[in-house]
Symmetry: C2
Subunit: 335 residues, 2 copies
DNA sequence: TATATTTATGAAAGCGGTTTCAAGCGTCTG
DNA sequence: CAGACGCTTGAAACCGCTTTCATAAATATA
């Protein structure tokens, strides 16, 4: 299988120079005589030389790898951020290595270990559940960036949207359409995002002097089935409502299905709004209103910030603002 | 930032043994006296030692990295396969490094280069467009596995579903429901998958003695907008039809929206079937029928096969079969 | 022209592990 | 009891590249 690997030494011999010179040409670290430079480049091409990044990593001290930890490949928000990071790194000398936490703290921690062992130069962690303390300790060793998460003591390394505001905006949007009985399907309650969104919801109600009805809130799990269950449960409680605010699009999709099953018209009888604005929201019938987080952009921003961090530049992470993609699943409250 | 890294040498000193012994303990390559073994392990724990995988990669000759190339993070089929691979590798000593081809041949090739440079021990390529020749050359150097792609000369390294059969089954399913005017929204025509699915469609028509009407076929792009465009275009041609078979779910979603916009009832007037059975299909209104490819399982299979390949075992890649997830977007043809 | 300064280059010393090799030691065998 | 054998162990070589350091050559300065 493996024909013998060609090394920098081979190139050196072929071009009649020393290893050092080859290295210098390849990395542009020191000027090298034109002729020799040419010769080296030619040899590289001829022999189809591919530097061993382990060797250079070892010798040079930096791996040119950015570790990226996502929470779940296949989940809209995380995927978009990841894409953003990768997009931003493409074309630079850095490449990302990805680990998936699959929503599991244990696996998440192991993933981080793997990344450290791989000598990543920097770490971008998207969401997740790792302890604040642990993160701070990590931050002492490596440049680290947290996306979609706000951690005290690491504020200047966090890039996140204001989840309270998301909850508030979404709810306010519905209230302004005249809705007063608004269901909220929350996310996983251990997630700080979920809690913040819920608080935003509560605040908007409060502001509009709408009394809080516990029976209109259902603890979901950011997925389709829990959206279905939410509607069925709340209907089962005999509650009346004219709007549903789901903590993400997947649970909104679930809610949509349950409403359909129960013969409830959207938006005629009930308005529906989700969060994430994932691609599919556009293709629901009717197209679904959703709060859009600038996920891809956040990924790019994080990637660039990491690049700056690695150049020891100062970075500044702007607070991300959200906007509502208004479509047709929301309408004025029925009389 | 970086406090001084601890190396195997530090462990050796702390445990009063030689580097060699430490290495042996860590890798279980040679029996080591109980006491020393303990001492080493303790030192590792105390000093919180993390082996530098660059060094071991360099010295040992294998990187314990599997390179995975996907075509588009965020795309259902690719994501699922990727998840499968990652899932299968989790807990082994191998870790995956992911590159995204973003549907672009150039970027795809660069991605492969990156992986090679990183000394991956094996390569799993999901889909994509890289030349047969190039792949064969790669296969001479590294264990390679192709998922969702069939390449002559590398048959025993390919794990794919029979796309012709998918097209055939989907179409036949519609025909058996009594449909005769069946629209097909194809995938990107340069993709072999698209062509095979189209051929399956044609074959099913032929078998049922339904004359082929070119006007019912639209070249799509595997995405939502092209699904919308397809329906609008075909409607614009003044064509009548009672069923739509889209080459993937995203384009089916697009078609669904266009039908809705045109006031055409699904499945009352038109039946709709997609391919991929992505999660959201379940939550369309009505829930959408789709051909399910065992994507996650394929990822796992590929991962395991790679592990075997690396142990120099023989591998066998079974042909993957598909099944139709029948939901409510398909019904008997109207009279 | 002699001396100081700059520049290109090669030799060699790492980087942090793994692995070969040979030595040291205890045990087994004839 | 000597020699053979098997185990554990440390020293040292090595993996392929970067980088420091010293040298030689070229250029500038006096």
């Amino acid at each position: 299988m493996d024909q013998k690997k060609i090394t920098i030494q081979d190139i050196a011999e072929c071009a009649n120079v020393s290893k050092s010179t080859v290295s210098r040409v390849l990395n542009n670290t020191t000027p090298v005589d034109g002729k020799k430079r040419e010769a080296v480049l030619k040899a590289v091409k001829d022999l189809n030389f591919e530097p061993n990044s382990f060797a250079s990593g070892l010798a040079g001290g930096n791996s040119m790898i950015i570790g990226v930890q996502t929470q779940k490949i296949g989940s809209s928000f995380y995927d978009l951020v990841t894409q953003g990071v990768i997009h931003c790194l493409t074309g630079t000398r850095y490449s990302p290595i990805l680990v998936d936490g699959v929503w599991d703290k244990e696996i998440e921690l192991k993933g981080i270990d793997t990344l450290l062992r791989r000598q990543v130069d920097g770490l971008i962690i998207i969401g997740g559940d790792i302890d604040k303390k642990h993160l701070i300790r990590l931050a002492e060793k490596k440049p680290i960036l947290l996306v979609g998460r706000e951690v005290e003591g690491l504020q200047d390394r966090c890039l996140y949207v204001d989840n309270f505001d998301i909850g508030y905006q979404a709810t306010k949007f519905l209230i302004e359409l005249g809705h007063r009985a608004i269901v909220h399907i929350t996310g996983i309650k251990s997630h700080q995002d979920s809690v913040r969104r819920l608080n935003g919801y509560l605040h908007a109600l409060d502001e509009a002097k709408i009394p809080y009805d516990k029976g209109l809130v259902f603890e979901g799990a950011f997925d389709g089935p829990s959206g279905v269950e939410a509607i069925d449960t709340i209907l089962g409680r005999g509650k009346k409502f004219t709007a549903v605010f789901a903590a993400n699009d997947m649970s909104a999709f679930g809610a949509r299905l349950a409403l359909y099953r129960n013969g409830i018209d959207v938006p005629g009888e009930v308005s529906l709004i989700g969060i994430d604005d994932q691609t599919e929201a556009t293709y629901m019938t009717p197209p679904m209103t959703s709060v859009r987080q600038p996920a891809f952009k956040m990924g790019v921003t994080a990637g660039n910030a990491m690049l700056d961090l690695l150049k020891h530049k100062e970075i500044e992470l702007p607070k991300q603002s959200v906007q509502i993609s208004v479509r047709e699943s929301t309408a004025k409250a029925p009389l």
